[in-house]
Amino acid sequence: MSTVIDRPVTVSTVDAPRPKVRERKRWGLTVVGVIVALVFLFPYVIMLVGAFKTRQEILKIPPTYLPHNWAPENFVNMWGTPETPLPWNLYSTVVISLGGTVLALVAALPAAYYTARHSFRLKVPFMLLVIITQMLQPTVLASGLFREFVTLEINDTRLAMILVNAAFNLSFAVWIMHSFFASVPKEIEEAAWLDGCSRGQSLRRVMLPLVWPGIVTAIIFTFIACWNEFAASLILLPTDTNQPLTVALTRFIGQYESAWQYVFAVSIIGILPVVALFALIERHLVSGLTAGGVK
């Protein structure tokens, strides 16, 4: 429907040229859509263009819109600058993101399955704890986390950030997978048991294909959240080789001298993969993020 309110059918049978009017109106909306798209994309266009400017050109006064000399070598040179050990930063981001995702999933999967399939006395308190955790962020607990990891002597290690990322993204993973498990009727699983499937077989052959989208959503969302994490890494990882890309990026921005071309080149490689992944799970995100608040 082109508009929220649709006219009664009887009117449209009388009104012959209406479809044409409607068609034009829809293309009018597309024009508005293009403008909206430009508004949401312009910072990333600036980023992309800036990543291809030379150091001289990006600091030029007045600035140029498009590079006079395209400098794709920024994407090579950024790996060996004095500001930050970028290969290590990428390594850190990847290790922390993969580690955090695996750990969150290993912890969330059994909990999500069990709470969807069984009722037990402390189920409501448990799910409540999950929701409360979802609304807490490492930012507000930074000083507590810092003190804890100093005491445990794992401060300034990637392990600390793997733990933080896993713990604070666990709840989204539990919640989204819980809702997928719960949407599979118990009878389907029981039928598989009756057919002689073991519990493991029924999980693998019957449940897994049905809840797979939920698991993928949990994996991708957790991975992106770990990939973009900033506040806790800033406090917990003082050593430059341990820092992820998000923190390392700020090292290119100095008080007097900034290597913006590298800032943007790093940002491009930091943003492209997560946007692609994000597009895959967009449909399932709202239900998971709002903890079932919007139906």
Binding site: M135, L136, L170, E187, I253, V263, A279, G293, V294
Partner: protein, 309 residues
Amino acid sequence: MALPIADPQPRTRTLKRRARRQTTLQALPWLAPALVLIFGVVVFPVGYMIYTSFRDLSRFGKDRGWAGLDNYDRLFGIEHLPKVMTNTVIWVIGVVALSIGLGLVLAQFLNKRFPGRKVLRMVIIVPWAASVVMTSTVFVYGLDPYYGILNRFLVDIGLLDTPFGFLKNATPGFLSAMAVAVFVSVPFTTFVFLAGLQTVPHDVLEAAQIDGASRVQTYWRVVFPMLRGALVVATIINVINVFNSLPILKTMTGAIPGYDADTTTTLMFKIIQNDRQIDTASALSVINFIVVVVVIGIYLRVVRPMRED
């Protein structure tokens, strides 16, 4: 699923009875990994943070013993604290209100059918998926009065006479950061409202139409009341996110001397990083934590997310 089901009734009943007998003890192995993580890395740090806020810590983290309320005294003695708290209120209310308003409009727009709608949905998720630090640094560069490309653009289209140093002073810097915060909050907000709009049944809209309601009336009297749930959820989740937001202000106004463009969250990070006073920072964190807990409490009361289980 075409699986033969041979009289599932008695089996279901025994299963149910068995399920009821499942004790917490049996659930524990399934929940243990999650519980260890939550208690180890979320609950314990909360406790440790509260404890630290009553301790006297050296700049190098050495615990020098009980401090009573000294850290809180020092915190409330900070002369710029009232300004920072006012900023926090403006920051949260301003960013959330604008995000909600723009999100409502954008969701209404995306709920219409037009060529390219799917592409637009994909475009709008970019600021949501992208790292907030990376997004804000573009504005730090773009708003620079000398080499900033946004400044040049604003001059070229005639909105500015000369380039303006948006991020050189606290007030314009803070307002610019608010705009960026709105920019990164709108996508999520829009998608929550889109999910809400999808629950509005079509026949209700038709009925309103037949009853002679104008489009404006239909929106405010029929559609909007049905978005109440989405509105509450979007507001509360945005309040939490915006209140906890560090990267935007850190990158955009962090270089401005003083505390005129700080919120309680960025102030807390300054106390940790610049002053190395983990104890005072913990006291401020406890205050921030109480704010978050109150918001979560409102969420649980109003939304009641557990109602289906």
